[in-house]
């Protein structure tokens, strides 16, 4: 079911050399190539920052899938970025349990102090993208905030300046 898509000449493939070797070890974990799709997308996002249509086509090629199939999967999972994001990608839980503990105030403080202004937008300096997410699974530590891969617990608006300073 491979449908090959030609890449532009300026496109640098993600899966090359060492990354291709890494992919080979991932493939060994599953009986089908298709099953390696989620981990492969994680690698692609780690390497490129976000998952473009081109990268989806490349992933499709290396796994023997079609670009449309890959796109259907990418758009299902919220953690795959379909657009470039800031250097610090910040996810703030605002679901009910955190909400009653003041998550919206944390969100507001982050938006103001990072200059990102709007949820989902990237700050002018390209350093911050703040998004509201549904339950992060740490409701007893309201408000949990994920800055890239760092999981911060019990964040309050008072702690926001410190966080902004640390990651700036």
């Amino acid at each position: 079911m491979t449908q090959s898509v030609s890449h532009g000449e300026d496109y640098q493939p993600v899966f090359d050399g060492k990354i291709m070797d890494e992919l080979q070890t991932v493939l060994q974990r599953y009986p089908t190539k298709q099953a390696a799709l989620l981990p492969t997308l994680w690698i692609a996002q780690r390497e490129h920052g976000w998952i473009s249509d081109r990268i989806m086509a490349e992933v499709a090629e290396v796994l023997g899938l079609t670009p449309a199939y890959v796109k259907g999967v990418v758009t299902f999972y919220t953690m795959y970025h379909q657009h470039p994001v800031g250097k610090n990608f910040v996810q703030v839980c605002t679901t009910s349990p955190c909400n009653i503990c003041g998550a919206e105030a944390v969100m507001k403080a982050l938006l103001e102090q990072t200059g990102a202004q709007d949820a989902g937008a990237t700050s002018a300096d390209g350093k911050w993208t703040i998004v509201e997410v549904e339950c992060l699974g740490a409701c007893g530590f309201a408000t949990p905030v994920l800055v890239n891969d760092d999981f911060l617990e019990s964040v309050t608006p008072e702690k926001v300046p410190e966080i902004v300073k640390k990651y700036r």
Binding site: P97, E134, C139
Partner: protein, 427 residues
């Protein structure tokens, strides 16, 4: 121990004994604390004998449905003709629930040991641990523990792999989780076929929750009778369970109690009750998908599968969300509806359209634009969204709406009458 708080005398510490103890995270530290003895014991038994012990203990699934674990294992084909798989559900995403995260953070080897025992019992050669994408810290800890366990040859011929989710609540549903491992959209599958007949990659599969598997080693070393004896109320609910308490309480966190423990004692004695000057208004006892309890119901509720049902809700995953008298129930229910609308996989019509429509009506009520007919409309939509879809996400959206309107109708009506201030929403 209700980490990060000091253990409470009323807790029955089994799973949480080593929470907060950094050394217990290592293989060496785990062995020092008696770890992997259960596995050695299990490997000496026939798979069916292991299953029998778990059956006898009365252990029931801790992910939400409460299905007897030993019985589930016994559904696997007796004659092994094809590969068998074990899936470990570490996609903890149910709002209000954060117990599996704690197990993985503090006692990763408890999970790995339980995984190995279960794989032996169901004769699986491969186990996948599906960890939600946002759990970066548990992932790192489990990854390290797995490397240690592999180095120590703990698993024998069984292969254990980690699989990272990527942001989808529905992947906690067992068949959606399997699709997700297979590299597909996390859509729940129609059943039958059930996983034991055709699960992951179409092969016989068992799927268990993290807390369920973490309990298994204890059952093997201390015996089914001991586990069965951990019971304060209904004999159908045995053992201990971690309850994640969050929301408006003074000491939120995970608390481990024996099945049948009074919810009132959990909330007031252990968690310190609502913040000073506040009173308890409502409680969701089993994660956001179950009906809301009033203060009266909460205070009379016993924490086991039957006890919570008796009060009109469900034990679910044991995520206890507490609302004090300052909470705006209408707003919080809207947040929950929005959560389900965001997470609906889009397959079933009632869920795809119903969760979004419900959210819109809730938002309209909150914006002071509600209509008198809206409450009846919400109840009717909820009825149409219940019991008619592939999985229960749609039902889960309906549960807090229906119970919320039933039990806190006054708050809704105040909005409809224009008496409540319009809450400030960030987005």
């Amino acid at each position: 121990m209700g980490y990060p708080h000091k253990p409470h005398p009323k807790e029955t510490v089994v799973l949480s004994q080593h929470f907060g103890d950094v050394e217990a995270r290592t293989h060496k530290g785990w062995v020092k604390r008696g770890g992997y003895e259960a596995l050695a014991q299990a490997l000496k038994l026939e798979p069916a004998a292991v299953t029998d012990v778990v059956k006898e203990s009365g252990l029931r699934g801790r992910g939400g449905a409460g299905f007897p674990t030993g019985l589930k294992w016994s559904f696997m084909p007796k004659e092994k003709k094809r590969p068998h798989y074990l899936c470990v559900n570490a996609d903890e995403s149910e709002p209000g629930t954060f117990k599996d995260r704690e197990i993985m953070r503090w006692t990763p080897h408890a999970l790995l040991e339980g995984t190995a025992i279960a794989a032996h019992a169901i004769r699986a050669e491969v186990a996948y641990i599906y960890i939600r994408g946002e759990f970066t810290e548990p992932w790192t800890i489990i990854e390290r523990a797995l490397a240690e366990a592999n180095a120590a040859g703990v698993f024998g011929t069984i292969k254990v792999y980690l699989h990272r989710g990527a942001g989808a609540y529905i992947c906690g549903e067992e068949t959606a989780l399997m699709n997700s491992i297979e590299g597909k959209r996390g859509n729940p599958r129609i059943k039958p076929p059930f996983p034991a007949a055709a699960g992951l990659f179409g092969m016989p599969t068992t799927i268990n929750n993290v807390e369920t598997l973490a309990a298994v080693p204890h059952i093997l070393t201390r015996g089914a009778a001991w586990y069965k004896g951990l019971c304060l109320s209904n004999p159908k609910s045995t053992g201990t369970k971690l309850f994640s308490v969050c929301g408006n309480v003074q000491r939120p966190g995970n608390y481990e109690v024996t099945m049948g423990f009074p919810l009132k004692d959990l909330l007031y004695d252990m968690c310190g009750g609502p913040p000073a000057g506040r009173t308890l208004k409502a409680c969701i006892p089993g994660g956001s998908s179950v009906p809301i309890l009033t203060r009266e119901e909460t205070e009379a509720c016993l924490l086991d599968y039957e006890g919570v049902v008796e009060k009109g809700s469900m034990l679910g995953s044991g995520g206890v969300i507490v609302f004090d008298d300052s909470a705006d129930m209408v707003y919080q229910i809207m947040r929950l509806a929005r959560f389900y609308a965001h997470e609906s996989c889009a397959q079933c019509t009632q869920c795809r359209e119903g969760t979004a429509w419900t959210t819109k009506i809730m938002e309209r009520i909150l914006a002071g634009q509600g209509k008198t007919k809206d409450l009846d409309l919400l109840l009717d939509l909820s009825e149409n969204m219940t019991g008619k879809t592939i999985c229960v996400l749609s039902d889960s959206c309906a549960a807090p709406v229906v119970s919320g309107i039933k039990k806190f109708r006054g708050e809704f009506e105040a909005y409809l009458a224009g008496k409540r201030p319009v809450p400030v929403m960030v987005s």
